[in-house]
């Protein structure tokens, strides 16, 4: 990552080059190291360092955005010039409210220097641990371990100057037997929080438990969705649900439903960057302080998240959830937490007479964003539950489900919860029990 001094110098340089009415600059500096393995060997091992400068210039109601990774004075001058060129020729956008004035932002940096010690050798050692534990049960494994650190900085011609860094260690493991697989994923901003042996043991246990899966007829079943499956659904809630723009454009399922009891009273969802489990930073890409927003309270849809444009349309103040400009998608809650309940997972399991335990979904997609119908496949740990116990693995199934109905039929929320996610979205969630979940077809494995 770039040093802070160099970051501030770069922000200043860009702002000084610009002669636009208003100028904002976002600088993102990232280091990424990732070791990927499959068939119990490392097949990809990469490291990257890059810094991108994004310049937004405004001339009246005209706006242009340009970005570069060339940080030389000539490169910065050129990116400002390109941005101004676009702003000069762009048609006016009457909805653009202008840049935000500076506001105080709390100091908060989910960064741990121990990520720097996750060298190629240490990453290979972690993979070795996975391979050794999997092999002891005659299993193979695939996945990745990675460490990254990034600094997001924001400055504008109204005087805003913000910077926050974060770190992220990720470990994802799937162990494979002849007929089954088991998935476990953990992340933290601290390397010391990642326990590679525990991850491997949990994945191995899932794989062994799922061996020789049996076919199951598609239909409606009670399910326990484990944390990764819940986070998958939360991702779609974030992008299609709580996004004020999706509601303003009547695309989202929360259109005209704020204040309504849409989910079970057991569902409580907030967006809160201060919970360290989610690795958030205290401001958004417009330099606005991120607010803690209660999204769902006891099943009632309470609030949406806003950026300056969507807030301006409704005469509100931004909640600090803007994505980088230019953004036609709208604001997104990037630090969602589904608040844990008070039921141990073991008790949830015991409560199921006949049903399914779903570890994870694959290739989930919206069938109808307005009705909030999703489809996707189960993978890497789908089990049949009978009389409160997991009895055997089940061949993977496709769900096609109205999620509003599913979360309305949610009857238990686990006490245990953790953060999980892919590169583009992470969230913190418990496991949940849903009394009826619709599977529309089955696959061959």
């Amino acid at each position: 990552m770039l040093e802070r001094k160099k970051i501030y110098q770069t922000l200043d340089t860009v702002l000084n080059f610009s002669t636009a009415d208003e100028t904002a600059v976002i600088l993102i500096s990232e280091d990424l190291a990732l070791t990927r393995f499959a068939n119990s060997e490392i097949h990809q091992n990469v490291e990257e360092r890059n810094t991108t400068v994004r310049v937004q210039t405004i001339c009246g109601k005209r706006m242009g955005v340009a970005s570069t990774n060339d940080l030389t004075p000539a490169g910065l001058k050129e990116v400002v010039s390109k941005s101004m060129d676009l702003a000069h020729y762009a048609p006016e956008n009457p909805d653009f409210p202008g840049l935000l004035p500076p506001e105080p932002v709390p100091a908060f940096e989910p960064y741990s220097p121990d990520v720097e010690s996750f060298t190629p050798g240490k990453r290979a050692d972690a993979v070795k641990t996975f391979v050794k534990i999997a092999r002891a049960s005659r299993l193979s494994c695939a996945g990745y371990v990675s460490a990254s650190s990034s600094t997001v900085s924001y400055g504008n011609s109204r005087g805003a100057c913000l910077s926050a860094c974060s770190s992220l260690v990720n470990a994802e493991l799937i162990t494979f037997g002849e007929t089954s697989s088991g998935y476990v994923s953990r992340f933290s901003h601290r390397l010391q929080d990642i326990h590679f042996e525990e991850i491997a043991q949990e994945a191995v246990q899932k794989t062994l438990q799922g061996a020789n899966p049996r076919e199951l007829q598609p239909g409606e079943y009670p399910v326990i969705l484990d944390t990764p499956a819940v986070v998958d659904i939360l991702t779609y809630l974030a992008f299609y649900g709580f996004n004020a723009r999706a509601v303003q454009e009547k695309r989202g399922f929360l259109t005209d439903r704020l204040g309504e009891q849409i989910f079970s009273p057991l569902v409580n969802i907030v967006d809160d960057y201060t919970r360290e489990e989610n690795i958030g930073i205290p401001f958004d890409y417009e330099g606005a302080p991120r607010q803690k927003v209660i999204l769902i309270e006891k099943g009632v849809a309470r609030n949406l998240v806003y950026d300056s444009i969507t807030a301006f349309r409704e005469g509100k103040k931004t909640t600090g959830h803007a994505l980088p400009p230019p953004n036609t998608w709208g604001p997104v809650p990037l630090n969602m937490i589904f608040l844990p309940g008070d039921t141990p997972k073991s008790e949830m399991l015991q409560s199921v007479q006949k049903g399914l335990w779903i570890t994870r979904f694959h290739y989930t997609n919206t069938v109808d964003p307005r009705k909030f119908i999703l489809t996707g496949m189960t993978r890497d740990g789908t089990f049949w539950i009978e009389n409160g116990q997991i009895t055997h693995g089940v061949k993977n199934l496709r769900f096609t489900q109205n999620i509003i109905d599913a979360f309305r039929n949610l009857s238990m929320v686990s006490r245990e919860a953790y953060g999980v996610g892919e590169e583009w979205y992470k969230a913190f969630a418990p496991a949940v029990k849903i009394d009826s979940f619709t599977f529309t077809s089955a696959t061959l494995f």
Partner: protein, 480 residues
């Protein structure tokens, strides 16, 4: 740049690497997006740097830098060697590469009008005019439009090849509109969903897209869908329009025939394949009508180039011939494992990413049937076009697609409009049920600039040529 490549190769060999490649890449993007005819996003991006791959005693290491200096190249090579040394700690067998002939010639996308030379207002005109026509249709409440252009310059060299350059230019655009009534939303896109259509071409391609000319039609269709009957639930004959068939090829053939997936190295993220490494020349993938080609020489495809990111020249190969699996999308490392040569499909989405096995232009060859004769053999069936939703399992077997638009087929003729259609199936059964393929007049090339794969995630630009085709005994229904 040739000097820097030489420095990289010399330093890697000095460090004991048996293989090294150096790839410089410079990318520029320009995009314009409108909503309700108003310009909401105008953007230009630039990214530039180099990446090096080394093989040290059969283990890979990759490192990269945006800083183009001799000292940085040396440092980057040393880092890649250090990483490769760590990879050796967990290695089953050393990586070997095939003996593919490597590119010796430079390449440039042919084009007539460079899109960066066109003033912004001329670009915006197409979107504003399309909006005006869509918004005129009663019942349309939201319109969208976008034009996007990419220029990519690549220099490649390895210790097994010379220094070659290529310059790729891509242009594309899309429009869409939404109709809403009693809480029900219908969207129509043109020319397709997933970025509309994109080609390796200049601004002339935007003229050819006829965005403005098609705006009123899609708006009327979106409104008409609101009062259409839902697609019935039944097992029936399905005729897929070209753009939906393109996505069907993408998900159930293209990804499934990527050789790295077949060997399991993508399993943790995007998934594996139902195809096994021993299946070539024997596996029946589909019916006799099925001829799938990977062709990176095809004019205007997003998978069209002079050479891939390992320096393997562009080529045309049958992946499936008369329904039998013949070859795979492959790299030098994966091809040698099945006793074949790379099909030149290694592609990276930037200087800071390693190349992965990706799709090129993967197309279904046209058949002999006109659209009328293809429909004439359908007593009862459904016609679907323009993808709306897509999902497939991690071995590329169980798929489910929803489309924006469907028509009933009755006694060989297209009949009433149907809304919210979706169909599902299992890959080899579905392709095995194909019993009619449209002729060249129904065949169209579709560029998809959003194909995700890899960790870290990479987005590839790929194309699919598809005619209209007919499938029997397919499960169809509507989203409830």
């Amino acid at each position: 740049m040739e000097d820097l490549a030489r420095v990289a190769i010399e330093e890697a060999e000095r460090q004991g690497a048996t293989y090294v490649d150096f790839r410089y890449q410079r990318e520029q993007f320009e995009g314009v997006e409108t909503k309700q005819g108003k310009v909401e996003a105008v953007e230009r991006t630039h990214s530039e740097g180099f990446g090096v791959r080394v093989l040290l005693q059969g283990s890979w290491g990759f490192s990269c830098s945006p800083e183009l200096s001799r000292s940085r190249v040396v440092q980057t090579i040393r880092n890649a060697v250090k990483i490769a040394r760590a990879s050796r700690k967990v290695q089953q067998s050393p990586v070997t590469l095939d003996d593919s002939p490597l590119a010796t010639q430079d390449y440039q996308t042919p084009y007539r009008i460079h899109p960066f030379s066109i003033p912004l207002d001329e670009k915006v005109y197409f979107l504003e005019e399309a909006h005006a026509r869509m918004a005129k249709v009663n019942g349309i409440y939201l319109t969208e439009g976008a034009l996007r252009f990419w220029e990519k310059e690549i220099c490649f060299a390895s210790n097994q090849s010379g220094f070659v350059r290529q310059k790729i230019l891509e242009s594309g655009g899309e429009i869409a509109c939404y109709a809403l009534k009693n809480g029900e939303l219908q969207r129509r896109s043109y020319p397709s969903y997933h970025g509309g259509n994109v080609a390796t071409a200049g601004f002339e391609f935007i003229h050819e897209l006829s965005l403005v000319e098609n705006a009123s039609r899609i708006a009327e269709e979106a409104v008409a869908l609101l009062s259409a009957d839902p697609c019935p639930t039944l097992t029936t004959t399905l005729v897929l329009g070209s753009s939906q068939l393109a996505l069907q090829i993408h998900e159930s053939v293209g990804h499934a025939t990527e050789l790295d997936r077949i060997f399991g190295t993508e399993i943790s993220f995007a998934g594996g394949s139902w195809v096994k490494p021993t299946d070539f020349h024997s596996l029946r993938y589909g019916s006799e009508w099925m001829n799938i080609i990977s062709d990176s020489t095809l004019p205007r495809g997003l998978g069209t180039y002079g050479f891939d990111d390992e320096g393997v020249p562009a080529q045309k190969v049958y992946l499936v011939q008369n329904g039998i699996l013949m070859n795979a999308l492959s790299s030098r490392e994966t091809a040698v494992k099945i006793g074949m040569r790379s099909t030149g499909a290694m592609r990276a989405d930037g200087w800071n990413r390693i190349p992965l096995v990706r799709m090129t232009n993967v197309s279904l060859e046209p058949g002999p049937l006109s659209l009328d004769s293809l429909l004439s053999d359908v007593q009862k069936g459904i016609y679907m076009e323009t993808n709306k939703s897509w999902s497939i399992d991690d071995r590329r077997l169980n798929f489910q697609f929803a489309t924006e638009y469907a028509r009933e087929i009755n006694h060989g003729k297209l009949g009433r409009l149907l809304k919210n259609p979706l169909y599902s199936g299992i890959t080899p059964r579905f392709w095995g049920s194909m019993d009619g393929v449209g002729d060249a007049s129904t065949w169209q090339l579709w560029g998809i600039p959003t194909c995700g794969k890899g960790q870290p995630m990479q987005s590839a630009h790929v194309s699919h040529g598809a005619p209209v085709a007919r499938f029997r005994n397919v499960q169809v229904t509507s989203s409830k």
